[in-house]
Symmetry: C2
């Protein structure tokens, strides 16, 4: 047993998706495709000293106190005591389509399992985080994508053992610019019929040609058909296309992402990272 | 289209397994558990110049010419032309239980797909490499484990979409010493009834307690029950246990592996690496 453990979970930008609600959170989820990023979340779980008699779980994100309902859900699923401190560090913006909530839930699951010797398998930990996200309404597909890494295709929705995954074999450089926040919960709680039809069509086309260029093109078509584009994102995507690059919108955030040097070439000053080769993992012991 | 691409595939040491042959190579495979390593294979595929009129695929391992039947099988499955050069670099010994053959097949699949724009998905590439290994009789479970990374548990045998995986959430330091070669093909072509019964029991027990310490203990029990231990491996495992560490035998090689500083503490001079956090992946583009 250790007093502290840290997990790294890659960020995840969804490019196209369809929503598949279900009464069983392990069976709920999304189909679709996205990109996991070397920019991600480092979540450190510490056993509190207990000296102060303070038995409340505390959570900080880049040293600022924060509330994230899925985290308490994960700790409860794992049967972890209440006196835990969780410190999350990330270069990613919150609420902008990078799956920070899912990454935090999954990172806490991995780290808490190690600190408190819960003896869960990776599938069990991913399931705990996936179900917590679904119950909180904060995401449907980020956790299983972040557990896998690379450029994940979600063939069938749901947690490990229910859903099915594939991937696009590519590791390009990724650039992104965020203009503001969008509420995932708001979009997911509205009528998603049109969105899901557009997402299913895009996924079917992507499976016929699983390449990065096709992914970007189908993501743009999906964003238009599902009426998700913001003004800033649309301008940026057009500018990257005009400069000969590939870009689209991060679902769901007021964020544009591009491959290679797309945003730089279009005159933006983007954040730069890469596709992450692997999935969520404990940091070196 | 590029003229050259490189993929990294982690080494894989199996600790316990059961063999599940099948007429369909995608459905054939093994159940069991193992450890993927940061020591692995870098496979570079180059389009040959064609200037010499030489249309034979060449393969080198650490600059030495080598024949590996699964590699030609993979290239044929992908419909890649014959004038390809494959250069493999690895610190791992061949024929010693590290899955170098499977890693090479999978690395070639990923890199050749990129060089020749074959447009296959990751599941398709893993399936091509898995089936090539099964047909060559050189392995049953390395490829799917190497595609996943971490400490993979093979719940159900077979390629992606047929088999099912889980994992032990841990990333310990790994030490290993190799005493010589063992023939995987020889063991797999013999009667595997006893081995498979021992492997099934060990896997069932591991699923009840998916931790590194339990994995090492069950791997030792499996090696004894399946009568696989060599004299050198048995001595080394005993020495590590006497020094308070965890060690077992790499299946199938005359190789001992240990976690933490087990072999060092027992007076050996081991190679040192870690559990690899992710699976096979193209190198940075």
């Amino acid at each position: 047993m250790t007093d502290e453990a840290t997990a790294f979970v890659p960020g995840h930008v969804t490019g196209l998706f369809s929503a598949h609600p279900h009464d069983d959170p392990a069976a709920a989820g999304s189909r679709g495709a996205g990109v996991t990023l070397t920019h991600g979340v480092r979540a450190t779980v510490r056993r509190s000293s207990g000296a102060s008699g303070d038995e409340t779980t505390t959570l900080t994100l880049n040293d600022e106190p924060l509330s994230m309902p899925p985290v308490a859900d994960v700790l409860s699923t794992l049967g972890v005591p209440d006196d835990v401190s969780v410190a999350v560090r990330t270069p990613l913006p919150v609420g902008a389509g990078f799956g920070v909530s899912g990454a935090t839930a999954l990172g806490v699951a991995l780290a808490a399992n190690a600190v408190f010797d819960r003896g869960r398998s990776e599938n069990e930990l991913v399931t705990a985080a996936h179900c917590a996200e679904v119950r909180a309404g904060t995401g449907l597909g980020d956790v299983v994508a972040q557990a896998r890494g690379g450029v994940p295709i979600r063939l069938e929705p749901g947690a490990p053992g229910v859903g099915r995954m594939d991937g696009i074999p590519a590791r390009p450089r990724v650039e992104y610019v965020t203009f503001g926040e969008l509420s995932t919960a708001e979009v997911l709680s509205a009528d998603t019929t049109t969105l899901t039809e557009a997402g299913e069509r895009a996924l079917s086309d992507l499976r016929n040609e699983p390449t990065i260029a096709r992914f970007a093109a189908l993501s743009r078509r999906f964003a238009r058909e599902a009426d998700l584009l913001t003004e800033d994102v649309e301008s940026a995507v057009d500018a990257v296309r005009d400069a000969g690059g590939e870009a689209s919108m991060a679902m769901l955030g007021d964020t544009v992402f591009a491959f290679g040097t797309g945003l730089t070439d279009a005159g933006y000053d983007p954040e730069v990272c890469r596709v992450h080769p692997g999935g969520a993992s404990l940091a070196d012991e």
